[in-house]
Symmetry: C2
Subunit: 310 residues, 2 copies
C-alpha cells in the first residue's frame, strides 16, 4: 500500500536538499502529473519556484486561462508564455509522427530554455511518471519529458532536471495530489499528452486543423465527461472521405473518438460507451464542425494499439 | 406494390426487341444488380449473350472463382479475363479518390472494349439501378456504370448500353432475382461497389494493400454475416498509427469496420453491433493481419457520411 504522506515528506526533504539555494522553474501543462510535481516543489522551496505555462497553440479550449488561474490560486509565481506562432512555424510541412514529436520537443525546450535564462534558474521540474519511463525504455514512445532516460543530456540546455514523481504510477500521483489538498478538478484530471493536440492531428499541424480537433475534443468531453473513464478524446485524420452536406457531395474530414479505461496507462481497454451517447457525439461533431463528414470509434485495447495515435 | 412477374415479362420483350439479331456482352461482377441483369438478358436472348468477369485484382477472397461457377451453372456462356496486373498499373502513384475512380473506370471500359471487339457485339449490359442514377445526377458519386447519365457517349467505346434495371430500387432487384429463380446466395447478396476494394484502400492501391483489406473484409464478413445487415465491410486507411506488437512499438495500419442498415442505399444507418462481436473482430484483425494495430468502427449514418469512404 502506497503511503502518500510518507512519500510527500521524503520528497519535500529530498527536493530541498537537491535544490539548495538555487532557483527552479516548472513547466506546468495543467495535467495532473505536472501540476502535482509543480505544487510539490512549490511546497518544498516556495518563492524559489516559478511555474511556466507555455501556450503552444495546441491546448484544449480555455485551458491556458484555466491552468494559470489554478496555479495563481495556489500562490505559485506563474508566467504564461505565448509561443503559438513559433510552434506552428516548426510544424509547417511536417507529417511524420516522430518528426512532429521531435519538432515539438525541440521547440518546447528552446522556449523553456529562454525562460530559464531569464529567470536565472538551475533546475527545471518535470512531471515524469513511471509509465513514461517504462515506455521510453521499451521504445514504445519517445516521451518528451524523460530526457535523461533516452540519453539526452539536459545540461546542453543549460539546466538540470528534477523529476519528483518518476517512481509513481498514475493512481499514486492522484493520491499525492489529494493528500496535498489539491482540488479534485486537478487530482482527478484525465491524462493529457505533453505534445497535446499535435498528436491528435494526423498529418500536418496547422491552426485550422488544431481548431477542428479542439472543437471535437470539447464535444467528446462534454458528452462523456460523466462516464468517469480514464481518457476521452478526438483525433483528426489526414485521410478524407466522401460525405453529403446540404444535399451535396463533400470530400470531408474524419474524426475518431477514443475513450479508454485504464489504471495506469500501461494497458487500457476501449470503453463500451452507450450507443445513444455515441450517436449524440456523431450528430454534434458532424453538425457543429462543417468540414467533418464522418465519425469513427476506436475499438482497440492497448495493446495492440497505444492510447494515442502518434 | 412492385409486380416482379410483370416487370420480367415486359423486360424480356423489350430486351429482345432492342437487341434483335445483335450479340451482347454483360460485365458481371457477381453483385446482385449485375447478376440479375445478366440472367435477365440471358433469358431474353440466350446464346447471343456472353458474360464477362473481369478479374481486376480488387475482388473479395475467392470471388472470381465463385462468380464464374455460378454463371456457368445457369448455362450462361462466361469468360474470365485476368486483368490484375493492368489494373494495378493504372493505380500506381494515384492517391486522389476521384482520380482512382476515373483510372478504374477507364481501365474497366478499355478492358471490356477489347472483349467486345473480340466477341463482335453491339450491346453491353450493365446492372445500373435507380439509386446509382439518382446519386450520379445529384453529383454525390460518379457511378462508373451510368455513362449515359453523366454525358459520356458510350459509342466512343464502340458499343451501346443496355440497363434493364435502371428504374428499380435494390429491394425490387432482389424480388426480380427471386422471381427468376436465382439462388438466395445471389438474390440476397450484399451490395458491392463496382471499383471494388479500390474504394476501400484509402491512398495508393497496391497488391499488398488490397491483400490487407481483403483479409479484413473476410474477417468482418465471417463475424457479421449472420446479422443480416445491408452492408458490412472493412476499409484500410492511408493514415498510420502507433501500436505495440510483441512488446515493441509498431507504426502500423488502421482498419475501419463499416456496417450499415439500409433499404435502398440512398439513406443508411450505422448498425449497433453487439460489443462482443466488435471485440472479436478487433482481436482477429489485429492478430491475423500483422501490420494492423488499430480497428475503428464507423458510427456515421448516411447522410452526413456516404456508405463507402471514396
Amino acid at each position: 500500500m502506497f503511503d502518500s504522506k510518507a512519500f510527500i515528506e521524503n520528497s519535500l526533504e529530498e527536493i530541498r536538499r537537491t535544490v539548495g539555494e538555487s532557483r527552479v522553474i516548472s513547466a506546468c501543462s495543467g495535467g495532473v502529473d505536472s501540476t502535482v510535481a509543480t505544487y510539490l516543489v512549490h511546497k518544498a522551496v516556495g518563492e524559489k519556484l516559478v511555474a511556466v505555462f507555455i501556450d503552444d497553440g495546441l491546448r484544449r479550449e480555455g485551458e491556458p486561462e484555466f491552468v494559470v488561474r489554478v496555479l495563481k490560486s495556489f500562490g505559485i509565481k506563474t508566467r504564461l508564455i505565448d509561443a503559438k506562432a513559433e510552434f506552428f512555424a516548426v510544424f509547417k510541412g511536417r507529417t511524420d509522427a516522430e518528426e512532429k514529436r521531435k519538432a515539438f520537443r525541440e521547440k518546447f525546450y528552446s522556449t523553456l530554455g529562454k525562460v530559464a535564462k531569464e529567470e536565472r534558474i538551475d533546475y527545471i521540474v518535470q512531471g515524469t511518471i513511471k509509465a513514461d519511463v517504462i515506455e521510453t525504455v521499451k521504445g514504445i514512445k519517445s516521451q518528451h519529458n524523460v530526457l535523461s532516460q533516452i540519453g539526452i543530456n539536459p545540461e546542453i540546455y543549460g539546466y538540470k532536471i528534477l523529476e519528483p514523481l518518476k517512481d509513481l504510477f498514475k493512481p499514486d500521483v492522484r493520491k499525492v495530489g489529494r493528500q496535498l489538498g489539491l482540488p479534485s478538478e486537478i487530482s482527478e484530471r484525465m491524462p493529457f499528452p505533453g505534445p497535446a493536440l499535435s498528436l491528435r492531428v494526423l498529418g500536418e499541424v496547422t491552426p485550422e486543423r488544431v481548431a477542428i480537433v479542439r472543437k471535437a475534443t470539447q464535444i467528446v468531453e462534454e458528452e462523456t465527461g460523466h462516464l468517469g473513464t480514464f481518457q476521452n478524446f478526438a483525433v483528426l485524420h489526414n485521410d478524407k472521405a466522401t460525405g453529403i452536406k446540404d444535399g451535396h457531395r463533400l470530400y470531408g474530414n474524419i474524426i475518431t473518438v477514443r475513450i479508454v479505461d485504464s489504471e495506469d496507462a500501461v494497458a487500457a481497454r476501449a470503453t463500451q460507451v452507450p450507443n445513444e451517447t455515441l450517436r449524440k457525439i456523431v450528430m454534434r461533431i458532424t453538425r457543429e464542425i462543417p468540414t467533418v463528414v464522418r465519425c469513427l470509434y476506436d475499438m482497440t485495447d492497448k495493446p495492440p494499439a497505444t492510447i494515442e495515435f502518434e
